[in-house]
Point group: C2
Chain length 219, copies 2
Amino acid sequence: MNYLSYIPVFDHLARSEQERLSQASFIRKFRKNEILHNGSQDCTGLVLVLSGQLRVFTISEEGREITMYRLFERDLCLFSASCIIHSIQFDMTVSAEKDAEVLMIPSEAYKSVMEVSAPLANYTNEVMASRFSDVMWLIDQILWKSFDKRLAGFLLEEMDIEETDTLRITHEAIGNHLGNPREVVTRMLKYFVNENLISLSRGTIEIKDRGGLQKIAGK
Amino acid sequence: MNYLSYIPVFDHLARSEQERLSQASFIRKFRKNEILHNGSQDCTGLVLVLSGQLRVFTISEEGREITMYRLFERDLCLFSASCIIHSIQFDMTVSAEKDAEVLMIPSEAYKSVMEVSAPLANYTNEVMASRFSDVMWLIDQILWKSFDKRLAGFLLEEMDIEETDTLRITHEAIGNHLGNPREVVTRMLKYFVNENLISLSRGTIEIKDRGGLQKIAGK
């Protein structure tokens, strides 16, 4: 099977362009928590997710993290190949949030096709616009939503992704998603416990009142 | 003169594509503070700045504003034509920060050329990546920089743009740039006065110690 057909415009490329991409691409596996791409490193290439889950985040000078967005099956990661677009002046780090299998598309091959192919250039545009939208949503959250809303929203999102009421996640990991220090997360989780919304035990968070969290999240 | 040649790839378009854009485009003038494009409105078209200065910002549900970036001569505004890219799921508002003359490029014409032209699609990609970089810088500022740094940086930037030591700007306008309530701005400006960095009088802010502000801004 040619996984490149996950790219919706693949059928619209010329035969020679399809072959250039196919011959250059290869499959790689990453273990949970492994770093696929480090912001300051050279151009890793585009990453097409075949299975598993990736996290794309930035790191401050002081080492604090915030999650920009997640990538799931059939999603394409552009920012691991930021060299293909000169005007990208920021660094993202990409890690495997779950064991993942990906198709690596080397930057050179992708760029050489994109430069001459209107369909691939327009598709790349759509992918970037979609990530841009995620980031604008995040700005909205950070600026105008208080931390209780963001944390409640995060717990609900995690429940949906993991399909469980009992999340295995540390307070520090949550802080790294939301861009807050661990202490702030712990304090708000304890508030949620007092409100009977969740219960805490070593390494897990059990959601007890989904409706209550939804009310706080403003959903 | 054909202002479309401000678009660096214009010469690389086919003659028919150049004509399609030229025939559709027209010049418009906007007065200071006039709204060119309202986030929730229909697709205004792409805006190429010929002279003056535009401000691109978002507005929260409660009416608070934050400036995403400014556009100057020869800059192209994409988000006033967000309909040309489906995946743009956010609203930006564009206003004239100074009297401005712009070339309006209707969305339909631009889109029809972009769909078939790899050079224009790749150029659009570069423009979006550049705005994306501005917004990532902003996230970095909001998340990791304290308000005194951001305010000092803003005052220095304004001095450079306006080429003056005496800024005519209200505290509310500063708040709208930085995403903070007016009271927070006023409080920090008074702190800067006490530190002999600036002086305040009705409607103006005079910068007295540029080096001191630079130190606070971390530059």
